[in-house]
């Protein structure tokens, strides 16, 4: 393929995915590729007032972020927020990010342990590609009135709850079931054969478990609706979803599973062909301020890596967090290590077979 047609294809693919040609950003615009709730309107407005920089927010998820940046060779956005485990693999394979200049980030705003852990996990060839922003877990959201004894992922397969269970057909589900079956998938990340052996066991289990599943959910709102209406009694989902429902219906809440909730950290990373790094660094240092971080926690429902950012958070959310996470459950959180390139293809084949199984 010639260079020109490759460029053209990349442009076309990007414009098709974005639904329109990306607007030509002027110098005082920050094009932010992020998750729902991470850039609340009032925070964006305050940032504009303080710096004069307009923020264009595009909502996405991990896979779409990588796909979008890959299509444009890392262009179209000035700041992205992928999870920390999805940076080095994508960077090694597609080269879509540029290294961070850590001297431009105010490290004193971050919780030191979280900053160090994220830096370590997003380091490739000696360069750091990510710093932490928002963190949270996935585990079980359970309607305790209807499914009181769901304590771990495998309990979702209890025949008592036939047709009343839901989870996603995505990699977190594979990882979660592997842990619940006593395996350690993270330890096997570097060994494809061992990882495949674990995946085979999980595939078997998920196929056995299929009669219990009402539907494999795909969107956050979808699973909340299914739990809210009582159509689903127990699901694997994000902690925030459980706490949101808990505010409406005290029977439903997030349960940290016995085999460990899965911990993720969403980061800040600079797309390779981003045009406004200044604005990106300004945004990072702005939203990590404790008072701004507390507002993002209120909007997103998850805590941030901002030092002191949990001080001003709504006490009700803190109470829900403490109820779901007794201290030993926090120690038991399984933090995702970086995903090596190529793992997704192995997992994909398993997910396809589970979906196709009768």
């Amino acid at each position: 393929m010639t260079r020109i047609s490759r460029r053209l294809f990349a442009c076309l693919a990007a414009s098709l995915m974005a639904g329109a040609l990306p607007s030509l950003a002027s110098a005082d615009t920050l094009r932010l590729l992020t998750w729902g709730g991470y850039a609340p309107e009032d925070v964006v407005a305050d940032f504009e007032k303080e710096t004069g920089i307009t923020v264009e927010v595009t909502l996405s998820n991990n896979e779409e972020m990588i796909a979008k940046l890959r299509a444009t060779g890392g262009g179209g956005f000035d700041l992205a927020q992928p999870s920390q485990d999805r940076i080095t693999g994508a960077q090694a394979e597609f080269g879509i990010y540029k290294p961070l200049d850590l001297s431009r980030i105010d490290a004193s705003l971050f919780i030191p342990s979280m900053l160090e852990a994220t830096k370590k996990n997003t380091t490739l060839n000696g360069e750091v590609y990510g710093v932490p922003h928002v963190w949270g877990t996935s585990g079980l959201v359970v309607n305790k009135a209807k499914a009181p004894d769901v304590k771990d992922y495998l309990d979702l397969c209890d025949p008592k709850y036939k047709g009343r269970v839901s989870y996603r057909l995505k990699r977190p589900t594979l990882i979660a079931f592997a842990f619940a079956m006593g395996e350690d998938p993270f330890a096997a990340y570097g060994d494809p054969d061992a990882y495949q052996a674990i995946l085979d066991k999980v595939e078997q289990k998920l196929i056995e478990c299929k009669p219990n599943v009402k539907t494999y959910w795909s969107g956050g709102d979808e699973i909340l609706n299914l739990l809210r209406s009582g159509e689903v009694w127990a699901a694997m989902a994000w902690d925030t979803g459980g706490w949101k429902l808990n505010a409406e219906n005290p029977d439903i809440t997030f349960v940290a599973p016995k085999s460990g909730a899965l911990g993720w950290i969403d980061t800040f990373a600079l797309p390779k062909r981003g045009r406004n790094d200044d604005a990106a660094y300004k945004w990072i240092n702005f939203v990590m301020r404790p008072e701004i971080a507390a507002r993002i926690t209120a909007a997103a429902g998850n805590f941030t890596a901002s030092k002191g950012g949990d001080a001003n958070v709504d006490p009700a959310l803190k109470a829900r967090f403490n109820e779901s996470f007794p201290p030993e459950a926090i120690d038991n959180i399984r933090w995702y290590p970086p995903v090596p390139a190529g793992l997704e293809a192995m997992e994909g084949a398993v997910l396809d077979r589970v979906k196709a199984a009768e």
Binding site: R70, A92, T215, S229, G230, E231
Partner: protein, 288 residues
Amino acid sequence: MRRREVGISLYLLMTPLVLWLTLLIILPHVAMFVVSLRERVGVGTYAFGLSNYLTFFQEPLYWNTFLRTAIMSVLATVLTFLIGFPVAWYIAKIARGRLGQALFLACLIPFWVSELVRTYGWMILLRESGVFSSLLQFLGLADGPVELLYNDAAIMVGLVYTSMLFMVVPLVTTLESLDDSLVEAAYDMGASSWAVLREIILPHAKPGIVSGAIVVFMLSLGNYLTPILLGGKSSLWFTGLIYDQFITRFNWEQGSAFGFLLLALSSAIVWAGLRLSGQSLRDTMART
């Protein structure tokens, strides 16, 4: 001199079409074809080869999914025709004038909202805590909540609803051109209603049926939203596989190969359909 002017205006008129075709259709397809012939060897290294196409034929899951998608699309096309034909007949022949226009408009109205909204509408109607389920319980026809969503029948309902207009429009056009006196003459000669339908109406409407069927079939085959949202936990749809390869597996090579296979196989099915019905694409397009 005149000849040259004609030439220039012709080229000017052609430019948008040519640009459109090359930039938005031919070039991306060529690029995608090249991508589909690439094999991932290791991190960031690729080789040339056909393995992406071979995967489709070697892994039963993939061609089974294609087969399933094709069969369900054919079924959706047949159902759309069976429901759409009486509607088109009524609009074209019985309810003429104002009423006909109003009915035609009624077929159009669902298309004023996006497909996503229409599909969510069906989800509200069919879900366990939804409208139909409550209605059945209210009427005493069901003891408890009934789940109507998340199965193949729900996909079928969604597909037929989404493509109805594209069947009704060509049918109305061809049926309007049918001379009523032919039908009357046939009755005068003692033909039964069934014979009239079989000998007069259907042969006349054939181009409309075929072009409607092609559009509905291709729309169903290429549909993404409806099967994903309404389908059950085992319902794979070929376009969903392509999306997964591109977005969640980062495997553009496999996704491109699937895209080309979808293009080739669906073209083959349409061609076979045309041959079976004794129509040529040119006739069908010219007469509707």
